[in-house]
């Protein structure tokens, strides 16, 4: 304590946490897409009305927005905003970032930064149709995950999914819904239909394992 009774102390700013979600797995070059940006304070300060900025892989600002008053559903207080962005014209995986900059607030907050990938893809010429079938009873599997990296989708109620991809070599996975992953390595050079027969990962009862 100083002789003039002045009290000095260091104040650590609160952490600012930025969350980015709903980024599409692939976006055609130059096309627009929507993402959600959320902001949270480490000390639970309300974050509605905070500014969030998106910068691209070259550091150029792509969007600036303000978080809304309603938190994202099922969260304790993650205020968010949805913004529209435009994919780069060059194909590839680009690393962008969302920033919640230091604003003039009563309580100091450190800047929050989160990086995320934006995969710009060329126009896809081949239509791949995947039919997911339960191997045992030969019925369609709805809601199965379909992945032909980097392309992703899910099967519809008829167990069918369609994905447009450029020509090339792919590894197909069809899985989820308690099925063991179906894997198929393939060369796609034209439209194709692939039948994926899925085996249930039967939930083991204790009887299956022990006596």
């Amino acid at each position: 304590m100083a002789e003039d009774d002045t009290v000095t102390s260091d104040v650590a700013p609160h952490d600012t946490r930025v969350v980015v979600w709903d980024v599409p797995a692939t976006i055609e070059c130059g096309e627009t897409f929507d993402v959600k940006l959320g902001v949270k304070c480490s000390a639970e300060c309300p974050t509605d009305g905070w500014t969030v900025e998106v910068r691209d892989h070259e550091g150029e600002s792509r969007a600036t927005a303000t978080t809304s008053g309603e938190p994202w559903p099922d969260t304790a207080g993650l205020h968010y905003v949805e913004v529209e962005l435009r994919a780069p014209d060059t194909a590839g995986l680009h690393t962008w970032e969302a920033r919640a900059p230091v604003d003039a607030r009563d309580i100091p907050h450190a800047e929050g930064v989160t990086r995320f990938g934006v995969r710009a893809v060329p126009t896809s010429e081949c239509l791949v149709t995947i039919i997911a079938i339960d191997l045992e009873n030969q019925t369609p599997v709805a809601g199965a995950k379909v992945a032909l990296h980097p392309y992703k989708t899910v099967t519809n109620a008829r167990g069918v999914a369609e994905v447009r991809v450029p020509q090339g070599a792919y590894r197909l996975f069809v899985s989820g819904k308690k099925y063991i992953p179906f894997r198929h390595d393939c060369e796609i050079d034209n439209d194709a239909t692939i039948r994926a027969e899925l085996t249930v990962d039967r939930e083991l009862s204790d009887a299956d394992i022990w006596s």
């Binding site: 952490d15 946490r17 969350v19 980015v20 979600w21 709903d22 980024v23 959320g38 949270k40 480490s42 994202w72 099922d74 969260t75 304790a76 207080g77 993650l78 995986l93 989160t114 990086r115 995320f116 990938g117 995969r119 809601g143 995950k145 992945a147 990296h149 980097p150 992703k152 899910v154 590894r171 996975f173 899985s175 989820g176 819904k177 308690k178 099925y179 063991i180 992953p181 894997r183 990962d201 039967r202 939930e203 083991l204 009862s205 204790d206 009887a207 394992i209 022990w210 006596s211």
Partner: protein
């Protein structure tokens, strides 16, 4: 050296008048009470004998520590042969692990159920209405073939271990010879068996020997009639267990007929009913502590000392009550001494619930975060090595301790997340559900592609998709475990273990070992590996329609939800009892993982080879506990073929028997071992001279 099994030449019983042990209180024994031969506590406590120095509060011809599969069987067998029997158990109810088992019992040697199926017959009540599952030649068994199977040096399992090679041969012979009689004994005590189908771990590769215990759904629960209500069976409501059956009973229509349900409750409750009906007496909430022997390492075993250890409801504080009470002795004194006129039988289980003991086989499993199976049901005294510890104090030898490592799934990673008691599917309705707090979310093997698994510092440690996979057992029909499947298996054939074959069939991932590995949060002296966490996002929940609600998960320190990954890490540290430090790498790990997903390659663990990878980006974020479970024990006290405990000089300890998981030297999994041990022990205990 005394000849084993001949009481007439066992070391003579010493006169306890000469004892001057500090911990023996000077008092006496009351004897000759009939017909129950059990003393009431007050009368016994008051009686003093000049010839004894132990205050005997109770006495019976045969005293049994543990009311599970070995203990109950031994109790009924001894009672059938005319003995008075007192069983003590640390739990509030009987059954031990048997009660939460699947009720599958692999015996054989031409046992009555094999014979029944071989002849295409039904059971004597006509409840089994489906045709035999196995062909007659698969059931054509003998004691000789069974003995050959369970001592087969040549079998090496898909984990590269030898399940039969190290079995104690005298013990195995006696077990094989007693299987047919034990099966009949169980049938005579209300146990109903399904059709035989296959065998299971440690039961041999040559014939089908396994049948499952069942009851029939009916209007009332009636053991004599073989019926159970849907409510008691747990099949009326998928989220409701019963006090009768802690686990929902399984549909047994394919191996019995319509309306049949099976699991360990069908076995355990039937035996318990019979034991109570026949006059076996029980003292529950009573932990077995000590064996009373004439001298610390000599003389006859005289009885046991046991401590009151009430199990109280975690919310109400009420003492839990057993399902049935007839035959129960309500004794609440802190310590009682119980005299055994003829024999003490140790059947209080193994050591899988005692981290200090199990650590001698796998030091990393001194980690107390990981319990044994059925922790809520059994309580803190379950599988606590009580028999092993007490046996060592009176000079007993050990056997088969290394066999803890030679059963293929002694310890494993559970697919049930979000509960510490991750072994069973017990639901609310059983009195012990609140000890687990949540039933957990069983995501199956396939569910492991939906998350990353991290250790106590928040780092991934293995390919998640491979974590729950388990090798198959070496049991009939031998899928993958032997070059010859089913009847084509040739016992004692060197081709079963030649290295070319072992290389071909080896099928074990060491994810569990990575889970238990040293990490940056491991600190001396124990270097605990700490808890494990499955981390995922809301998209994973939506994709899989996981029900993250009570009773599957609850706010009990094993399930967390947060708005950000950073908050998730902070919450786990604050509210999990075994999280000893920060998950300092979790945020970085998740960011790295999301980068792998975008790139389509996981250079650390090669997930892209086996399953699609999903990012962890959509709030809220979740962490559910992943549990390593040490299920059961294969090492324990050394016994001979009469189940008599043997000391380190090879001598029988007079008056002391043991069975089930308290015993070592037999790498046989589960009920088949315990019931036959109990049958043998009960048979020979009553042949001991009465003192």
């Amino acid at each position: 050296m005394a000849r084993k099994g001949d009481p007439s030449i066992d070391p003579p019983i010493q006169n306890e008048q000469g004892l001057n042990r500090r911990d023996f209180v000077k008092t006496g024994v009351a004897a000759g009470l009939a017909p129950s031969a059990l003393l009431g506590s007050n009368e016994a406590h008051a009686q003093i004998s000049e010839t004894q120095q132990t205050a005997w509060d109770y006495e019976a011809d045969v005293v049994i520590a543990g009311g599970g599969c070995a203990g109950l069987t031994a109790a009924i067998r001894a009672r059938d042969l005319g003995a008075s029997v007192l069983v003590i158990d640390q739990n509030f109810d009987l059954g031990g692990r048997m009660l939460h088992s699947a009720g599958r019992m692999s015996l054989g040697g031409g046992d009555p159920v094999q014979q029944r199926d071989l002849n295409g017959e039904s059971d004597r009540e006509g409840l089994v209405t489906v045709d035999p599952v196995e062909n007659p030649e698969e059931l054509d068994d003998s004691v000789e073939l069974l003995f050959t199977d369970i001592t087969d040096w040549s079998v090496v399992d898909p984990k590269g271990q030898s399940p039969y090679r190290y079995n104690e041969r005298e013990l195995a012979r006696a077990w094989a010879e007693s299987c047919p009689a034990t099966r009949q004994f169980l049938i005579d005590n209300y146990v109903r068996f399904s059709r035989v189908s296959g065998t299971h771990g440690g039961g041999g590769l040559s014939r089908a020997r396994l049948a499952t215990c069942f009851l029939m759904l009916g209007d009332k629960t009636d053991i004599k009639a073989g019926t159970i209500t849907a409510e008691d069976a747990g099949v009326a409501d998928p989220e409701r267990s019963s006090a009768f059956a802690p686990l929902r009973m399984n549909n047994a229509s394919r191996s019995v007929g319509p309306n049949a349900v099976s699991n360990g409750a069908a076995l355990s409750r039937s035996l318990e009913f019979s034991a109570r009906e026949k006059g076996v007496e029980f003292m529950l909430h009573r932990r077995f502590d000590e064996i009373v022997r004439n001298e610390p390492f000599a003389g006859r075993v005289r009885g046991i000392r046991a401590t009151y250890a009430p199990r109280q409801h975690p919310r109400t504080g009420e003492r839990l009550q057993s399902l049935w009470q007839n035959g129960n002795i309500d004794e609440r004194r802190e310590t009682v001494n119980i005299r055994a006129r003829q024999a003490v039988i140790l059947a209080s289980g193994g050591h899988a619930g005692n981290p200090e003991v199990r650590s001698m086989f796998y030091p990393a499993l001194r980690e107390p975060a990981f319990p044994t199976s059925g922790r809520a049901l059994l309580g803190p005294g379950g599988q606590d090595a009580s028999a092993l510890i007490a046996g060592l104090r009176v000079g007993a030898n050990l056997a088969g301790m290394q066999q803890n490592l030679s059963y293929f799934t002694t310890f494993h990673i559970s697919t049930r997340l979000g509960t510490r008691d991750a072994y069973t599917g017990m639901m609310p309705g059983h009195p012990t559900f609140d000890f687990r707090g949540s039933a957990g979310l069983n995501v199956g093997n396939a569910g492991f592609e939906e998350f990353i698994a991290v250790n106590q510092v928040g780092k991934r440690f293995f390919n998640e998709v491979r974590l729950p996979r388990r090798p198959g057992p070496s049991a009939y029909p031998g899928d993958g475990g032997a070059p010859g499947r089913g009847l084509a298996h040739t016992p004692r054939d060197w081709r079963n273990c030649r290295k070319e074959w072992v290389r071909e069939m080896y099928n074990y991932d060491h994810g569990l070992d990575a889970a238990l590995a040293l990490n940056e949060g491991s600190e001396p002296p124990d270097y605990f590996s700490g808890p494990l966490w499955a981390v995922f996002d809301r998209d994973a929940v939506d994709r899989n329609e996981w029900e993250l609600r009570y009773p599957y998960v609850s706010d009990n320190g094993y399930f967390f939800k947060a708005d950000t990954i950073e908050e998730l890490a902070e919450t786990i540290v604050a509210r999990n009892e075994f999280q000893r430090g920060p998950l300092r790498y979790l945020t970085e790990t998740v960011a790295t993982w999301n980068g792998y997903v975008e790139a389509g390659a996981d250079p650390e663990f090669e997930r892209e080879e086996e399953a699609p990878m999903s990012p962890i980006v959509t709030p809220p974020f979740y962490a559910l506990s992943i549990m390593v479970i040490w299920h059961d024990s294969y090492g324990g006290l050394r016994v001979n073929g009469r189940q008599q405990v043997v000391d380190m000089q090879g001598h029988v300890i007079p008056g002391l028997y043991a069975g089930g998981e308290a015993v070592g030297g037999f790498n046989k999994h589960g009920l088949g071992k315990g019931h036959v041990h109990g049958y043998i022990a009960g048979t020979h205990a009553v042949e001991e001279p009465s003192s």
